[in-house]
């Protein structure tokens, strides 16, 4: 690509967060000639999207899209990314920021070939956060099968134990380095894009919906992991209490969203996600019944509406207009959800094998304050973009609840905004 007038290389861009929004901003900026640093707190790139089985509405696997992006990153010398990294301090002004980044040790260097000998040697098992704690991994692990960078991680939990030594001894490539220390890196950048993403709202805060009290009440992101081929059940949707196939599943929409006691806003994706989840269940279990309890089904736009209309034709999927506000134990692992059908004014007590709470998204910044001082937030923790001032921007779900498509559109636009900041300098 030809170099633009006004000399690109006058500054670089930092992207905080290596999820789909951050990757998009980084690639769009890098591919027009800017140097980009991606700072990711996890040991892998891909963020929430990496945890999904399929995208809606096309129902294609997200690994496909991520693979293309990882290929573009590998091929682009202008992108540098840091995993297991946190932004610690930001100072300066638009066009000239000094950023301190803390690089946490992975204890595995680039010699790693992903042979898995360290994991085999390790005896300690730790909770697998990638699968929301539904299974365990060894203390030396690959975050997930498609992880990029494709390199093992040694958990700090086993550091200093016999297990750590065993991992080191098992490695035939001298890739395990238990003496790695945290490092601090100072970078000067012209613009910072916060693509810090979202977290599933903590369902245990919703007292009346029984999450944490009944094992067969799970969240939508947990279902996503259960359905994914690289998930804890290898893609089999099984209810947690007894690993049986559910014959009936109830979806509770707006679990915490549009609720001033929790998240006052609409999380945008949960309706489409539940419709998509209905397809997962119906595909695996042709006789299973699906009940979707909703306030309003929100399928915005032509394509989503079409998807909704298609699901509605499935006679095994029942839509009930009425929010679930109570759950009761129905014995033998079953749960009864209670709602009022607002269309006919009758209370429904629906007993099902498994309940999925369609929990919403909370911006990461709501629970962990970002180190940048001069940014404005909504009451809910979303970053408000000041496009006139420039310099720092939020994209994707750090800015507002969004699906992948919207995040990508927004991230592309924000890449341009970041570039404009440096052109002004």
């Amino acid at each position: 690509m030809s170099e633009a007038q006004g000399a690109p290389f006058s500054g670089s861009i930092m992207v905080v967060g290596g999820g789909i929004s951050g990757l998009t901003t980084a690639l769009e900026a890098a591919e027009v000639g800017y140097e980009v640093f991606i700072v990711e707190k996890n040991p892998y790139l891909g963020g929430r999207v990496a945890q999904l089985k399929q995208y809606f509405p096309k129902l294609c696997p997200p690994t496909c899209g991520l693979e293309i992006n990882f290929r573009r990153i590998k091929d682009n010398p202008r992108i540098k990314f840091f995993t297991l990294a946190d932004v610690e301090k930001v100072s300066g002004s638009p066009g000239n920021y000094n950023v301190s980044i803390k690089l946490n040790p992975r204890y595995v260097n680039e010699n790693c070939t992903c042979c898995g000998a360290c994991a085999e040697a390790c005896q300690t098992e730790i909770s697998n956060e990638f699968n929301f704690g539904m299974d365990k991994t060894r203390g030396a692990f690959l975050p997930h099968e498609m992880a990029f960078p494709s390199r093992y991680v040694i958990s700090p939990q086993i550091l200093g134990t016999e297990d750590a030594k065993r991992c080191k001894e098992a490695c035939g490539y001298d890739a395990v380095d238990l003496d790695m220390q945290p490092k601090t890196l100072d970078l000067n950048v012209g613009a910072i894009v916060w693509a810090t993403g979202w977290e599933p709202y903590d369902a245990s805060k919703i007292d009346n919906l029984g999450f944490g009290q009944y094992p067969n009440i799970i969240t939508n992101m947990m279902l996503e992991r259960l359905a994914a081929a690289n998930g804890p059940t290898k893609g089999q949707i099984l209810r947690p209490s007894d690993s049986q196939a559910p014959k009936s599943v109830a979806f509770v929409q707006c679990a915490g969203s549009r609720d001033e006691n929790h998240l006052p806003y609409c999380s945008y994706i949960c309706c489409m996600a539940s419709l998509k989840h209905a397809t997962y269940i119906r595909e695996q279990y042709p006789d299973a019944k699906v009940y979707i309890f909703y306030i309003d089904m929100r399928a915005p736009g032509y394509r989503y509406e079409k998807f909704y209309e298609k699901i509605k034709t499935d006679e095994n999927v029942e839509f009930i207009k009425g929010k679930v506000a109570a759950v009761e134990d129905a014995g033998s692992g079953q749960v009864t959800v209670v709602a009022e059908d607002a269309v006919n004014g009758e209370k429904i007590h629906q007993t099902v094998d498994m309940v999925v709470l369609a929990t919403g998204m909370q911006p990461t910044a709501a629970n962990a304050k970002l180190p940048a001082a001069d940014m404005n937030y909504t009451d809910d923790g979303f970053i408000i973009n000041d496009l006139d001032k420039g310099g720092m921007f939020a994209t994707g779900c750090a800015n507002r609840p969004a699906d992948v498509m919207m995040s990508n559109q927004n991230a592309t636009g924000i890449a341009l905004k970041a570039i404009q900041t440096m052109m002004k300098r």
């Binding site: 707006c254 929010k323 679930v324 506000a325 109570a326 709602a339 009022e340 209370k347 429904i348």
Partner: protein, 388 residues
């Protein structure tokens, strides 16, 4: 429900619901959380979700005659879980106030009772009635209002100041008035309530059979006395005990008054009774329970800033507390031999009793009658039995 239904919103009604404590009404987005959160809503046509939309649309005719607004005991569980802060509990309370107004005649009295600005007038009314009546009788040579009362065997007796004849001359017609106002209101209320229940499919019964209705009433009364429904609430559970204290002390005091009345007019035995008399003991216990119960209820309302409390709530609570306090103080000052003070307090007490009886069908206290009837109707309707 008919396939086509033309909604004719009564804007004035919507504004009144909001002005009477249901300000948050329009925040409702019909998620139906409230109907599930409510521990006492039946499965068949539960409340208060449908009341919220009917109130939003100004459907006065569907609401004020509905038994459902009375089945609600205002425990607040719905308002706590409401995702929008629409406070269905407060809207239901507002609707009940409007229903009392709707069925009470004459309207001018109903409006005056519920108007804060008319309170001085209402306070003056019984004082004027008593004094004017007493003075007229004096002119006729009947000394039932005696400003220099004599003592009986050296003790103060309130009756020497304010003859029981004078008291009853006012209170007996007043009681008849209250019963008559209620009777007129209930006649319309029961007919409307049944029409509403049939229209909304809340009952299988086509007509109201008096025997069946009365037997339902008999079944419901023990539930009311035991506060069964109250205790099902989780949010405002602590209200059940003080409310029970107030209810039972009123019943106790009613018994005391009845016994007094009979012994006076049938046997000619005059008060004051000895402190050891069982009736006196019942009176004292009831009086104390009334004060404690009312004080607790007032404190609970004050400690609940998220629940709307209107003038009507406060009027009733302070009236009840006032009745208890003046009643007990009149007795204590009498025993302490403080003549002026005790006559004064006794006078105030009588004024408050006047309020209680005269404005019973118009004030929030009317819930005693309307809720009982609505609960009896609900029991009669067979709605609870038919569960899905």
């Amino acid at each position: 429900m008919a396939d086509k239904y033309l909604v004719q919103p009564d804007i004035d009604f919507i504004n009144k619901v909001r002005a009477n404590g249901g300000e948050s009404l329009k925040k409702c987005f019909q998620c139906a959380t409230c109907s599930v959160a409510c521990p006492i809503a039946p499965d068949r046509k539960p409340f208060p979700r449908k009341e919220m939309i009917a109130a939003s649309w100004g459907l006065k005719d569907k609401l004020l005659c509905s038994p459902d607004i009375w089945l609600c005991h205002n425990c607040g569980d719905c308002s706590t879980l409401c995702p929008r802060g629409a406070k269905p509990g407060d809207v239901m309370a507002s609707l009940r106030m409007m229903a009392i107004n709707e069925y009470a005649t004459p309207k001018s009295v109903a409006n005056a009772v519920n108007d804060r600005k008319k309170l001085p007038l209402l306070i003056a009314l019984p004082a004027i009635v008593f004094i004017v009546l007493g003075l007229i009788l004096k002119m006729l040579g009947i000394n039932w209002l005696n400003f220099s009362p004599e003592r009986i065997h050296g003790e103060i007796a309130h009756a020497q100041f304010f003859s029981t004849w004078l008291v009853d001359l006012v209170f007996i017609p007043l009681s008849i008035w209250a019963v008559a106002v209620f009777a007129l209101g209930l006649k319309r209320f029961i007919a409307d309530m049944h029409k509403n229940a049939v229209a909304e499919g809340k009952t299988d019964k086509e007509t109201i059979d008096v025997k069946g209705f009365l037997s339902a009433l008999v079944r419901v009364i023990p539930q009311i006395l035991k506060h069964n429904k109250f205790s099902e609430c989780s949010e405002n559970n602590d209200r059940a005990t003080p409310h029970m204290m107030v209810l039972f002390s009123f019943i106790g005091l009613l018994i005391v008054t009845g016994v007094f009345f009979i012994t006076l007019y049938v046997f000619g035995i005059h008060g004051p009774y000895s402190q050891l008399n069982p009736i006196k003991i019942l009176a004292n216990i009831s009086g104390i329970a009334l004060i404690i119960g009312a004080a607790l209820l007032i404190r609970q309302r004050m400690n609940k800033p998220d629940e709307v409390s209107t003038y009507k709530d406060w009027y009733l609570l302070w009236l009840v507390l006032g009745l208890g306090v003046t009643g007990m103080l009149a007795e204590l000052t009498r025993l302490a031999d403080a003549a002026f003070l005790t006559y004064l307090i006794y006078f105030i007490h009588l004024m408050l009793v006047f309020h209680l009886i005269a404005f019973l069908p118009f004030s929030k206290l009317a819930h005693l009658v309307y809720r009982t009837v609505a609960m009896a109707y609900n029991e009669y309707s067979g709605r609870e039995a038919k569960k899905a």
